[in-house]
């Protein structure tokens, strides 16, 4: 049972990991993108739309295309979301909080709208959006996982996208620490004026970080629909996971490699109430509160300790205007 719990916790954690890695990259450039929940919805629904079309139209079902098409649709959708945010905040210097919240409103609405109306819009005769065939392609696991017992279940039983999430997080952590690009990105987030003076294009970094961050976060939505939910889209099914991903950024103190552990932990906290016997319905609700409480504790603790390397990027949430120094 413990193995099953850990396995479920990791599966719960993967969308959060995508979301938080994306948001960390974005925040490192000084952009506090509160639109991540919306971006993740859009990523999920764009993947659904793509694969729905494919399943409807394709005469011959090719697994490779069945994975590729939703993937590209998802990336494209979240790219557009990131682009909207960047244009408004980096170029037009709009307030980041307001833009982010508007993006969330828009994105969640977009997801629920197309999720709810997709069948009617394409005049299909399917009763609901169920993409079992595509989902099975996404869920393909390593063939030898079952034979290895507990180890196999814990380490090798996940789909490719899950490993991809971990790999992205590790690569991001490496980029931040050991490469010039990462250094420049951090400089932009800490003090854009200094970065600008050093010849780094602040606008370009902000754009790229936000867009790439959005695309990674969008994958979280795709993973949720295709793998966790078995290809079944249900409105508001994704729930508050987007906000939880933002919470995870704080929990991981802006370090993507911490985010991996954190996401599994959050995933566990998210479902732990199912595994404690004799819990009443009301007590379960209290348990669902724990990830947020833990996040607040971390936030407070980090500001109490006041250690330099654990702080949020110094210019987080502030617009940068070159001529206003």
């Amino acid at each position: 049972m413990i193995i099953a719990f850990i396995q479920r916790a990791i599966m719960q954690g993967i969308p959060l990991l995508f979301g938080s890695t994306g948001e960390i990259i974005t925040e490192k450039s000084g952009n506090l993108n509160l639109g991540i929940p919306g971006v993740m919805y859009v990523g999920g629904i764009c993947g659904v739309i793509g694969s729905f079309m494919y399943e409807q139209k394709a005469t011959r079902f090719v697994p490779f295309l069945a994975v590729l098409i939703p993937l590209l649709c998802c990336l494209l959708g979240s790219l557009v979301m990131g682009l909207i945010y960047s244009v408004l905040t980096a170029t037009l210097r709009a307030n980041q909080n307001v833009t982010g919240l508007a993006l969330t409103t828009f994105g969640v609405g977009f997801g629920n709208f197309f999720g709810g109306s997709l069948i009617k819009l394409v005049k299909s005769d399917m009763p609901s959006v169920v993409l079992t065939r595509t989902s099975n392609c996404f869920k393909a696991t390593l063939p030898f996982a079952d034979k290895l017992g507990a180890v196999g279940k814990l380490l090798f039983s996940y789909s490719a996208l899950a490993y991809f999430a971990v790999i992205i997080a590790l690569i991001t952590a490496y980029l931040f620490k050991h490469t010039r690009v990462g250094l420049h990105l951090r400089a932009v987030g800490e003090n854009p004026a200094t970065a600008d003076a050093a010849g780094i294009s602040v606008t370009r970094y902000k754009y790229l970080a936000t867009i790439i961050g959005s695309m990674i976060a969008g994958l979280g939505g795709l993973y949720y629909v295709m793998d966790y939910a078995n290809g079944v889209w249900s409105n508001d099914g994704f729930g508050d996971r987007g906000w939880l991903a933002i919470a995870l950024v704080i929990f991981a103190i802006w370090k993507p490699d911490f985010g991996i552990i954190g996401s599994f932990l959050f995933g566990g906290l998210f479902i732990v109430h199912n595994y404690i016997p004799n819990l009443t319905m009301s007590d379960q609700e209290i348990f669902k509160m724990t990830p947020y409480v833990v996040t607040i504790l971390v936030l407070v603790f980090v500001s109490l300790r006041n250690r330099r390397e654990n702080q949020p990027p110094a210019s987080l949430g502030l617009p940068y205007f070159r001529e206003e120094r």
Binding site: L34, T105, K120, E285, K288, P312
Partner: protein, 372 residues
């Protein structure tokens, strides 16, 4: 993107902040143009999705929002509620304290009201019950606002993220009590509280059950306008918002202002919770605040934190929501359509602020070819 610099050449254009600002009529012209452009985009989207004639779509929208007397009252009630939350968050925003926890503050205020109605409903005489309800909701909201404010003032903890997390704690607490007090038992929802006795329901004026709410919010709007514009508190808030160092220099106790303002802001959110629970729904659920805490931020910001403009901005947003939801019912689409429309409109309006605050200067070409 805007600054593609070429070697040894002046960039094609650069962006200058308007120091004097442009005349008010021009600023409004830009805003109206942006709304018009947004409506155009929305119309294109709607027509693409429904295949209807755009004029029909607009007609449906207007009818959905103000088609019948009941709908007009409903619209006014929703505007009042959104406006109430927007007013509540405004003092904090003027101080540049990004309180995005209004959703939680409203919910916790509502929960305090609901608990008074449930637990004390039959024990206290009605006037006393109202006093207790009122006090409980204000205190609950204020406490929910105080916690992040205290940490911000003391240790500069990031308030945006803190208040955001507080929302979900409030939501879970409400869920918890929804099970504890669920009616019928085990349904996980608190039905209408005191359905038969109507104890703890705000009184109705005449035959209009929402009129009292609307009047309260109207009074609050005037009060907030005066508070921010003419009171010493309002002045201190503005100074702290402009520059904390200046505030300290002229002897303002920044910590005290932060905590006091958030107490006030949270208490008003609690009041909004009271109006929603006791004056409107007569019940509470996770969805009682209904995203107003987030929408209120946009309302307040779009109105430049001016309470009187907020009447307009909250009206526009609610009108669009009601209109768009009518479109979705009429054409059998999902009602999340209104959120898409709201999103598009807000993108355009916040984008247009750039053209009000900044001007674009093009490079003056040596050949004398003037760019526009």
């Amino acid at each position: 993107m805007a600054k593609t610099e070429k070697q040894k050449q002046e960039p094609l254009f650069h962006i200058v902040k308007r120091i004097i600002g442009i005349p008010t009529w021009q600023a409004w012209l830009i805003r109206i143009a942006s709304v018009a452009a947004a409506l155009l985009v929305c119309a294109v989207v709607t027509v693409m999705l429904t295949g209807e004639n755009p004029l029909n779509v607009y007609k449906t929208m207007i009818e959905g929002a103000i088609g019948t007397e009941r709908r007009i009252w409903n619209l006014m009630q929703n505007v009042a509620m959104l406006l109430c939350v927007s007013l509540a968050v405004t003092p904090a925003f003027r101080m540049r304290f990004w309180n995005i926890g209004a959703e939680g503050q409203v919910l916790i205020g509502g929960l305090a009201t609901a608990s008074c109605m449930i637990l004390l409903g039959n024990r206290l005489p009605t006037p006393l019950l109202f006093v207790v309800m009122f006090a409980a909701s204000l205190i609950a909201g204020a406490v929910w606002g105080l916690i992040p404010a205290f940490f911000k003032a003391q240790w500069n903890t990031n308030e945006t993220l803190f208040t955001l997390m507080m929302n979900y704690i409030a939501i879970q607490i409400v869920s918890y009590f929804s099970y504890i007090w669920s009616n019928p038992k085990g349904s996980g929802a608190i039905g209408v509280i005191n359905l038969n006795t109507q104890v703890g329901w705000l009184p109705t004026i005449g035959s209009q059950k929402y009129l009292l709410n609307i009047l309260v919010v109207a009074a609050l709007t005037v009060f907030m306008f005066i508070y921010l514009r003419f009171s010493k508190h309002g002045y201190e808030i503005a100074v702290v918002g402009e520059s904390e160092n200046t505030a300290r220099y002229i002897g303002i106790n920044v910590r005290r202002v932060i905590i006091r303002t958030m107490l006030f802001s949270g208490a008003l959110c609690g009041l909004a919770g009271l109006l929603l629970v006791s004056g409107t729904d007569h019940t509470i659920s996770r969805a009682t605040a209904g995203g107003r805490g987030f929408t209120a931020i946009m309302v307040s910001w779009l109105a430049k934190f001016n309470p009187l403009y907020m009447i307009l901005t909250s009206f526009i947003l609610v009108f669009l929501q009601k209109g768009a939801s009518e479109i979705s019912t009429q054409f059998g689409l999902n009602d999340a359509f209104s959120e898409i429309i709201t999103g598009i409109i807000i993108f355009f309006i916040i984008g247009s602020e750039f053209f009000i605050n900044y001007s674009i200067r093009f490079r003056e070409s040596k050949k004398g070819v003037q760019a526009k």
